[in-house]
Amino acid sequence: MTTTETARTRPNLRWRVVDIVIAAVIAVASGVVFWGWDAVWGALSTPLHAVLPGLDSLLGGVWLFPAVLVPLIVRKPGAAIFAELVAATVEALLGSYWGAETLLSGLIQGLGAEIVFAIFLYAVWTRGTAILAGAGAGLALAILDLIVSYPGQKLAFDVIYIVGSVISGALIAGLLSWLLVGALARAGALNRFAAGRTGRALV
């Protein structure tokens, strides 16, 4: 007999200590990655602009991956917002050129993914939800950036920027996080989480 847990067992939405700590650990590591990515973005965004203005939004997905990865692992309400806020705080403490705006970006981007997970009542954790949540975070990032960082641009720029962000969020933050969770589960790193047990035969 090989029993597999279904993805629809009634979820326990209370945060355990291990949920908080693991979410924070990934978020902190992401914050360090963000800080490094800021520099990469600085180098890559201009050439991408030269190809097509607004295309640098394709790089934005990297800032969004904790908003999908962390919820996929811990499966608790608020995980996307918590992860993005902690990551943004670490990024800001290390020194980011967006200053306090970093925290606002974190909040809004986390919210974009959080809304998607909430619509599915924190009970559906499939590849589809992951991609949608990544796209949601990308949309949130684009809207905020167009208001705060790139105000008064031409419509073409705005459209390219939004489409680029959504694609980047869906692929880098959404699909990639989903694949990563599978790999982490196989490496036995998620044994204390439902995400590390679903779909696997009992051993």
Partner: protein, 251 residues
């Protein structure tokens, strides 16, 4: 003289936010310049050495022109147009917009970097939990995770040397980097799980009301710093509105 070193980090965070919000409200070169001028005078009292100042703010100085260039090229054209090709229009309007944006980046990011340089993570967590009253479980969980950064760095080094020992140091840079990053993630999740157990074993997450060994104080020096922040914000907005340059959210 300690400058802002010992001021509660919550106050520093508040000031960074006040400046950011005030300057995001309008996109014009006047408000950004006024704020930047005030800030430059105040930096002298911050208690941060020039060496620290330049090394920590270097990324800001690099980023501001990059963003400005893209706005100069693709901003909404107005006034005289100097160059035009496909989506590119360099005009009076886009140049003004570019200068305003660059100045605004500096005016928002420089004080934030200087304020955050002097923040100790433990003090920040104490402040967020005791003064702002964010949920202590989440604040302290994050603080414990921050301490692991040093261990991640050591792990990363060992992973790198181990790649050489395994004979794969020269092959496919992207693949090797991805593999190394994945291994680091696995290691950090392991460590995180153990850390969570250690914290739980010390009563973390219990229903008992928590006490605080360190008191996070919020007194006149914190209010003074916030007052200064408000003054700078008010000066920037006042000058900008009275000279007719105020331009709400770049509309």
């Amino acid at each position: 003289m300690t400058g802002i070193l010992t001021v509660n980090p919550v106050a520093k965070l508040a000031v960074a936010f006040i400046l950011a919000i005030a300057l995001v409200l309008s996109l014009d070169w006047v408000s950004a310049t006024v704020a930047l001028a005030c800030e430059c005078v105040l930096f002298a009292w911050a208690g941060v050495s020039w060496h620290t100042f330049w090394t920590r703010t270097l990324p800001v100085w690099l980023a501001a022109p990059i963003v400005a260039i893209s706005i100069a090229l693709y901003g909404k054209p107005s006034g005289q147009t100097y160059y035009s090709w496909w989506l590119v229009d360099i005009s009076d309007g886009s140049i003004t917009l570019a200068i305003a944006t660059a100045l605004r980046i500096l005016a928002i990011a420089l004080p934030a970097v200087i304020l955050f340089v002097t923040v100790d993570p433990t003090d920040l967590a104490d402040g967020l939990a005791q003064v702002v009253r964010l949920p202590s479980k989440f604040v302290l969980g994050s603080l414990a995770a921050v301490r692991l950064i040093g261990l991640f760095m050591d792990d990363w080094r060992s992973l790198q040397l181990a790649r050489r020992a395994r004979g794969v140091a020269e092959s496919g840079r992207v693949r090797r980097f991805a593999g190394q990053a994945f291994a680091l993630l696995v290691l950090s999740l392991r460590r995180g799980s153990k850390l969570a157990t250690a914290m739980e074993a010390r009563g973390f997450g219990a229903v008992t009301a928590r006490s605080w060994a360190r008191e996070s104080r919020f007194g006149w020096r914190e209010w003074l710093l916030i007052g200064i922040g408000l003054l700078v914000a008010a000066a920037a907005i006042t000058v900008s509105v009275s000279t007719g340059h105020w331009n709400f959210i770049g509309a």
